[in-house]
């Protein structure tokens, strides 16, 4: 069913395939889109595509999650305050190299936790005043437990998940929805070349559809694919003495 006046949707990190897929899922339901990214001319083709396919209004905007001091002005510069804000921004980095390069590790952590949390704080405060709006943060199963193979990124996602969880508690009282999305493996630019197990790996379109459905049903936390909820439950239950010996 299509709302008569669907709220506009802001996608932070719209150059990612997951961001594009989420944008498409909302556009298919008639939502106008605000696509944001660094160097946003790169969004031109995606804007054209979404506009041609779904006949919705699509605008693009310059946005850098690390330029935290610009976030307020960025939001003021949008055509309207979007009814839904989705933050897809995150940086995986290279765990092995980043262990030896504190500067690079900090960049991963800031891009994946500090930046997203900062911009969502600005959005949340505006939604709180209005008493409406939806905030969707793309976190990761990597944040559910720190693993030796990607704990720099994982810790940042853990921070983001905790932040969203707390924000959800605060916002629940004023009628603002906060949804945490935890994808497992997704076949994107970020994971290109990694050997991913097909049964556990989602296509970006699956994430897009799941996010839209979760938003519609006002979910708090979703896993994509859903089986990851159970996998991560088991992983979290493993005792530390065993977990630290595993090479996962």
């Amino acid at each position: 069913m299509i709302d008569r006046n669907p709220p506009s949707v802001l996608i932070l990190g719209a150059t990612s395939e997951i961001g594009r897929a989420i944008a498409a899922a909302f556009a298919a339901a008639g939502h106008p889109l605000r696509l944001a990214a660094r160097n946003s001319v790169r969004l031109e083709a995606t804007c054209q595509d979404l506009c041609l396919r779904y006949g919705v209004e699509v605008t693009r905007h310059e946005f850098d999650v690390l330029a935290v001091e610009t976030h307020a002005a960025f939001l003021e510069g949008l055509p309207d305050l979007p009814g839904v804000t989705v933050c897809v921004v995150g940086v995986l980095g290279n765990q092995r190299q980043d262990e030896q390069a504190p500067e690079a590790a900090r960049w991963v952590m800031r891009s994946t936790y500090e930046g997203p949390a900062s911009v969502l704080a600005e959005v949340a405060n505006r939604y709180a005043v209005l008493g409406q709006g939806s905030i969707i943060g793309i976190s990761s199963v990597a944040g559910d437990r720190g693993r030796a193979s990607n704990y720099i990124y994982g810790s940042a996602k853990a921070g983001l998940s905790a932040y969203l969880s707390g924000l959800r508690g605060r916002m629940a009282k004023v009628g603002v929805q906060v949804m945490t999305v935890k994808p497992g493996f997704v076949e994107t630019r970020m994971t290109a070349g990694l050997p991913l197990p097909p049964a556990l790996t989602a296509q970006p379109e699956e994430v897009g559809a799941a996010v839209y459905r979760g938003w519609k049903h006002r979910k708090d936390v979703i896993y994509v694919r859903p089986v990851w909820r159970w996998i991560m439950m088991v992983i979290r239950l493993l005792p530390e003495w065993l977990f630290k010996r595993l090479s996962i």
């Binding site: 395939e17 995606t46 054209q48 595509d49 396919r53 630019r189």
Partner: protein, 441 residues
């Protein structure tokens, strides 16, 4: 990644990479240490879109870029699916100028195979409707080609099976339609000469194709059901459909979950099916929706699995008009005698429309036969190939998995010009598929 074509034969373990944008495509060609081939949806039947050394997937290169409602010109990235074009544009009153028998092909694949549709006798092949395309060459340069700009490269790329470079974007001119319906006429023909006469008489029908019984010999050799079609106008629709003439009815989709055991399509079963099909076909005229007319097989997802684990091959040839009657009779007689069970056999009369250097269509009859793979099949195909060569015909690269280099050379007289064009733009030694390695060693 283990990949195959639609026939699931052959399969090969290929190094794959997704192309995401022009920059990514340039990185891929400049970094390549061996040859590469582009791959759309893998709906070609054999090994045209396989290269173990490097297969570049275009599925993520799938943006619509521009549409001009004055002319119908649609510009897309090459990985856009025909399915997407139909979903978006039929509702707005536009239809592809030429369409193959499935929606699940990419724009790049349609150009690279210069596909034909049931309207070839009027509309020519697909690439006649390509206004321009952007091709990435082996050195990373992007060249815009069209009938006026780089015409040699354009004619090499249309039907060139990915061997000139990677098609990044293209502009195709869609055609306006008033409704999402086809006025269909069904004619039963008891023999080959009858169906050929019916085709010749049906030149005015925009769409025509025949299902032909590939198993019956003797008096019933070539018995067929001919389907003619034209886009219905608004006034052709009953009042109940006139309200929303471009609405496409929902389809129920079935799926074949796993490859079926070989016995399911054994010759006796197919013979039975063909007999029932022929007798059941209702002659007469009526309205059918676009999906039922153009894409009947899409109603069953993974229908290629009905042929079992070993896969199947398709044999599609075209014979020059003058040699068609005799050549078809011989092809059908040999097939019927072999009794290997061709289930989906299709006959169509092509028009003279010129295409690219390696485009398949020529004026004459095209015949397509499916064979579930068995030890006897390659031998039969050699026999059929010889008949095709004797009659000055050729085989369709997009359907082929087994043809010999001799058959290929004999069918494609413009091959030397094609190879020269590949040399000129530096494609030789940079782009190749298992198929090109086989037929142009």
């Amino acid at each position: 990644m283990i990949l195959g074509g639609w026939g699931r034969y052959p399969v090969a373990d290929c190094r794959v990479a997704d192309l995401r944008d022009e920059t990514g495509a340039r990185d891929a060609v400049l970094r390549a240490s061996a040859t590469l081939i582009a791959r759309g949806q893998g709906r070609s039947y054999g090994d045209a879109a396989l290269n173990p050394a490097g297969t570049l997937l275009t599925r993520r290169l799938n943006r619509f870029l521009a549409f001009d409602p004055q002319t119908g010109d649609l510009t897309c990235e090459s990985g856009v699916l025909l399915d997407d074009i139909l979903s978006v544009f039929v509702r707005r009153g536009w239809f592809p100028p030429v369409t193959p028998g499935t929606r699940q092909v990419s724009l790049g694949g349609m150009i690279a195979a210069d596909v034909h549709g049931k309207n070839h006798h009027q509309a020519g092949p697909f690439c006649r409707h390509i206004r321009a395309l952007d091709l990435m060459l082996a050195d990373g340069r992007v060249v815009t080609c069209s009938p006026d700009q780089e015409p040699g490269l354009f004619r090499a790329t249309c039907g060139g099976m990915g061997l000139t470079g990677i098609i990044l974007r293209a502009t195709v001119r869609l055609m306006p339609i008033e409704t999402a319906w086809i006025r269909q006429r069904v004619i039963r023909c008891a023999s080959l000469s009858e169906v050929m006469a019916a085709f010749a008489a049906a030149g005015d029908a925009p769409y025509s194709v025949a299902w032909i019984d590939g198993l019956s010999g003797g008096g019933a050799l070539g018995r067929s059901v001919l389907f003619l079609g034209a886009h219905a106008l608004r006034q052709d629709l009953p009042p109940s459909l006139r309200q929303d003439p471009l609405r496409v009815p929902e389809r129920r989709r079935l799926s074949v979950p796993v490859p079926l055991p070989g016995a399911v399509l054994s010759p006796p079963v197919v013979r039975l099916f063909n007999g029932v099909y022929f007798r059941r076909a209702q002659e007469g005229t009526g309205l059918v929706d676009l999906d039922s007319f153009f894409y009947p097989l899409d109603a069953v997802r993974h229908w290629n699995r009905i042929y079992g684990r070993r896969g199947f091959v398709q044999f599609q040839c075209v014979l020059p008009l003058a040699a068609s009657a005799e050549g078809l009779a011989r092809l059908l007689a040999v097939t019927a005698a072999a009794g290997l069970g061709s289930f989906l056999s299709v006959l169509k009369l092509f028009g003279p429309g010129p295409g690219g250097m390696l485009s398949f269509p020529m004026e004459g009859y095209t015949l397509a036969l499916d064979f579930p793979l068995s030890a006897a099949v390659p031998g039969l195909l050699r026999q059929l190939e010889a008949i095709v060569c004797d009659h000055g015909g050729r085989l369709y690269l997009a359907k082929d998995a087994l043809m010999t280099p001799q058959t290929f050379r004999s069918g494609y007289p413009e091959l030397p010009g094609f190879l020269a064009e590949c040399d000129r733009v530096g494609a030789t030694g940079c782009f190749s598929s298992l198929q090109s390695q086989r037929v142009m060693p």
